[in-house]
Symmetry: C2
Subunit: 205 residues, 2 copies
Amino acid sequence: MLDLSLIKFDQNGLIPVVVQDIRTNEVLMLAYMNQESIKLTLETGYMHYFSRSRNKIWKKGETSGNFQKVRSLYVDCDGDAILAIVEQTGVACHTGNKSCFFTNFFGQDKKSEVDILFRLIETINDRKRNKIEGSYTCYLFEKGLDKILKKVGEEATEVVIGAKNESKQEIIYEISDLVYHLSVLLSYFDLDWTEIFKSLEERRK
Amino acid sequence: MLDLSLIKFDQNGLIPVVVQDIRTNEVLMLAYMNQESIKLTLETGYMHYFSRSRNKIWKKGETSGNFQKVRSLYVDCDGDAILAIVEQTGVACHTGNKSCFFTNFFGQDKKSEVDILFRLIETINDRKRNKIEGSYTCYLFEKGLDKILKKVGEEATEVVIGAKNESKQEIIYEISDLVYHLSVLLSYFDLDWTEIFKSLEERRK
């Protein structure tokens, strides 16, 4: 299955591997693999790397329990870098951060636009567990399911009105409002946008 | 502003840089920087790399026009890798592919779950331009705005009914349906999920 001839190892027999989270698309870490760690990864289904400092192969998570299940592997156009798409258990970084790339040294500390949906759900889940005075999200959970559903209906209607006004600004604002209230509904049922994306993916086939 | 002491260059004065698209979170390429290419990147706002094969600094896009505007830079926990978040003009790869990592050698060729929203919009935009017999999306565009908005209202109502039935499966299915029809509406007005994410981000502050 694996054509290792695609892969160009450096003079030390290593190749850099970019590791990305399947759920959020976050870049978790950069590590190195040799030929054997690639084979072990394919055989076991879990990421194995070569440690340049310890000069040996290691299974990610072998001490921390934070394993990485491999979902896809790619090699780049000139064969000297690998991209691994993984399901990360817990966090990737030994510091306790989700990603090793947590030190921002230029620009805004905001890695992407799309991960807002996950950060939104995380905040909403937090509000569900911890009451905060004056929080609109807490108010919705307090009022309960019927209130959340009334808001879903209301915001959908406001999307329709914005569109009939042919106002792009209104459409953007009202769809955002609807997406926020749908996120509250998902959180109410302990669901996540991941389930929606999986469902869209399946129906696309 | 930049504390270069954070960054550990290798014996050749280089550090690997993972380059990621701000819009879709896609990993575009892996390249190398030396100290001067970092300085040029910060001074100009556009990604500069060090080519190991040509042994010189190059500005990404200098021949192709496919520049990368730098949005954020991160260094990893042990200082020996950089993550660059960029706005990519055109494609990143010299082969014409969006990303250099287009050769899938293990697992499904599906890089993430979240990028389904962008792939969905791309397909819908394509259906808007090119009629395909039997395509439901084409049918919606043919019927026009009122039909699309009726469907948005209908799907929102079905979300409410699914939630009142306390059926997680129904909720997932109906929210997916609603998200699809909202995508058609966005496409109708030449909008994209990016605008929704930006709006949610601004209102989160």
